[in-house]
């Protein structure tokens, strides 16, 4: 088709949106709601992925020792660690230091820890090991676990695994909700276009007699569907961007120490919003196209 014809059809589709205001509004809201939820899920998953990759690059292994370790045993372990390959650096933290660190972390609430003294300190001695390359971690952890005086070996992979599990659950659950919402939006758009087709059935009939091809008749309605989808995408995009922006600010302003939010290093808005809005526009248009193509079939028979 010629460019002029395309323009004609895009204009017609766009005008149809306004001709049929109430149904269009319902369609746009439905698709915007579906995409908004999609945006939330996406923002969460992207952030989880970011946290995971951050943790993976920070491969620190913490080795907690058994309670009754003697100082010569600690020295022996230190020598051993010096011999092992793949260790970037290591640090020994005695149980007394650990208690002191704990107090510092708790800041003003440290009086709660006043009951703990050197005698009843619940914390163990520990080694903090940083590995040169994340690939060594698993191997290193295995070796450390075999040492006799080692109680527990903790490393970021545990956390990574947990977050991965949460991320996967979010993805699956979120996407299931999104799919349901998109199907609902599709049904509403489908109805909207059907009404639009129905109100123009005379025109379609005339077009058929004059010799318009089926695609010539279809395109304005497809454009209408695309317009609805894109308008929904724009609304959902603005909403997602706005809410995410506020959230990022909230996290940035809140006191980092001792706050659960300190675990969250949210991605800045700019780094995710283009992907999200791009996906919105794509999903919005595709939903619009599918819904409208399904609506037109019946009335094309003349």
């Amino acid at each position: 088709m010629k460019i002029r014809t395309w323009r004609l059809m895009a204009g017609q589709g766009f005008r149809n949106v306004f001709r049929n205001r109430i149904m269009s509004l319902a369609s746009i809201s439905a698709i915007a709601a579906a995409l908004f939820v999609l945006g939330l899920v996406l923002a969460m998953v992207l952030n989880f992925n970011n946290i995971i990759s951050g943790l993976e690059s920070k491969v620190e292994i913490t080795v907690f020792l058994k309670d009754n370790v003697q100082s010569h045993e600690i020295e022996a372990m230190s020598r051993q660690l010096n011999d092992w390959e793949g260790i970037k650096e290591w640090k020994f933290v005695s149980r007394d230091e650990a208690l002191e660190n704990w107090r510092e972390e708790w800041g003003e609430q440290k009086y709660l820890l006043d009951g703990y003294t050197a005698e009843n300190n619940p914390l163990p001695d520990s080694f903090h090991i940083t590995v040169e390359n994340p690939d060594y971690v698993t191997e290193m952890v295995e070796k450390l676990r075999k040492l006799t005086k080692v109680e527990v070996v903790q490393y970021s992979k545990d956390v990574v695994d947990t977050i991965t599990r949460i991320a996967n659950a979010t993805r699956i659950l979120g996407l299931a909700v999104v799919v349901i919402l998109i199907i609902m939006a599709m049904i509403i758009i489908h109805n909207t276009i059907r009404i639009s087709v129905y109100s123009r059935r005379r025109e379609i009939n005339i077009m058929k007699y004059i010799g318009a091809t089926d695609w010539y008749i279809r395109w304005p309605f497809i454009m209408e569907g695309i317009s609805l989808g894109i308008m929904g995408a724009v609304i959902a995009g603005s909403l997602t961007a706005g809410i995410y922006y506020l959230l990022v600010q909230q996290v940035a302003e809140s006191p980092m120490e001792g706050n659960i939010l300190s675990l969250l290093q949210l991605l800045p808005l700019e780094s995710i919003i283009y992907q999200i809005v791009g996906l919105f526009l794509l999903v919005g248009s595709v939903v619009g196209v599918i819904a409208s193509v399904l609506s037109i079939r019946k009335h094309l028979r003349v």
């Binding site: 002029r4 005379r202 009939n205 005339i206 077009m207 007699y209 004059i210 010799g211 318009a212 003349v302």
Partner: protein
């Protein structure tokens, strides 16, 4: 040339709209198709527009077997045929000019072609002064002239008119017939289904009379030969 060869049409195998019709219409001919309601006139037109397929027999238009036209090709086939109806079928939200230009937009004519052709055809049907009026602002006769302009703007070789004067008074009907006759004299084959006795009688053209799906008479310079 249009040729019906042993064409029968039944919608549900019980009602026979057409029974074994044989009819040849030469290029450039003017044919009235008459007969009581339900005689098969509308079916004939629907077959010609390939809205429906004959249950039996073959139908040729310009030496093309219509049964060989694929659904996708139907629009292109229809572009060779102009159609007007009793109820005009104009788009109410477009002006006279736009209604005619619409037919050219559909075949993707250039803007230049549209600007040249539409005023010319409006001039021919005598509507130059009404180009910017909307259908509800003009008379029935003017609406039908708009419909004629739209049917002709792409230069079809055949004009099908389904009771084009059915909604018009006698005087307006005669004006419309003048235009249709003019179109005919330019070489267009005209097939017109009608109930207008006085028009048929005064035009002195070929008249094909249908009754109960059969051709009961076919006369050159015929007359409206049955009682409604």
């Amino acid at each position: 040339m249009i040729q019906f060869k042993n064409v029968s049409m039944s919608y549900d195998n019980v009602t026979h709209a057409l029974r074994n019709v044989n009819l040849t219409i030469n290029s450039g001919e003017f044919v009235f198709v008459v007969g009581p309601s339900g005689a098969g006139k509308s079916t004939l037109i629907k077959l010609l527009l390939k809205e429906i397929e004959p249950t039996e027999g073959k139908l040729y238009v310009n030496n093309v077997d219509l049964s060989g036209i694929k659904p996708k090709e139907i629009p292109f086939y229809r572009r060779g045929i102009g159609v007007v109806f009793q109820d005009f079928r104009l788009l109410p939200d477009r002006t006279v000019y736009e209604n005619v230009a619409f037919a050219m937009e559909i075949v993707e004519a250039t803007r230049k072609e549209i600007r040249r052709q539409v005023p010319a055809i409006l001039g021919m049907v005598g509507l130059s002064s009404k180009a910017n009026s909307y259908p509800n602002q003009i008379s029935g006769g003017e609406q039908q002239r708009t419909a004629l302009a739209r049917a002709l703007v792409n230069n079809p070789s055949i004009l099908i008119a389904d009771e084009p004067t059915g909604n018009l008074d006698i005087r307006t009907a005669r004006e419309i017939m003048k235009i249709i006759n003019l179109i005919h004299r330019r070489g267009t084959t005209v097939i017109m289904a009608t109930h207008a006795r006085d028009i048929v009688d005064s035009m002195q053209k070929r008249v094909v009379t249908f009754d109960k799906g059969c051709i009961v008479s076919d006369e050159e310079k015929g007359e409206y030969s049955f009682e409604d």
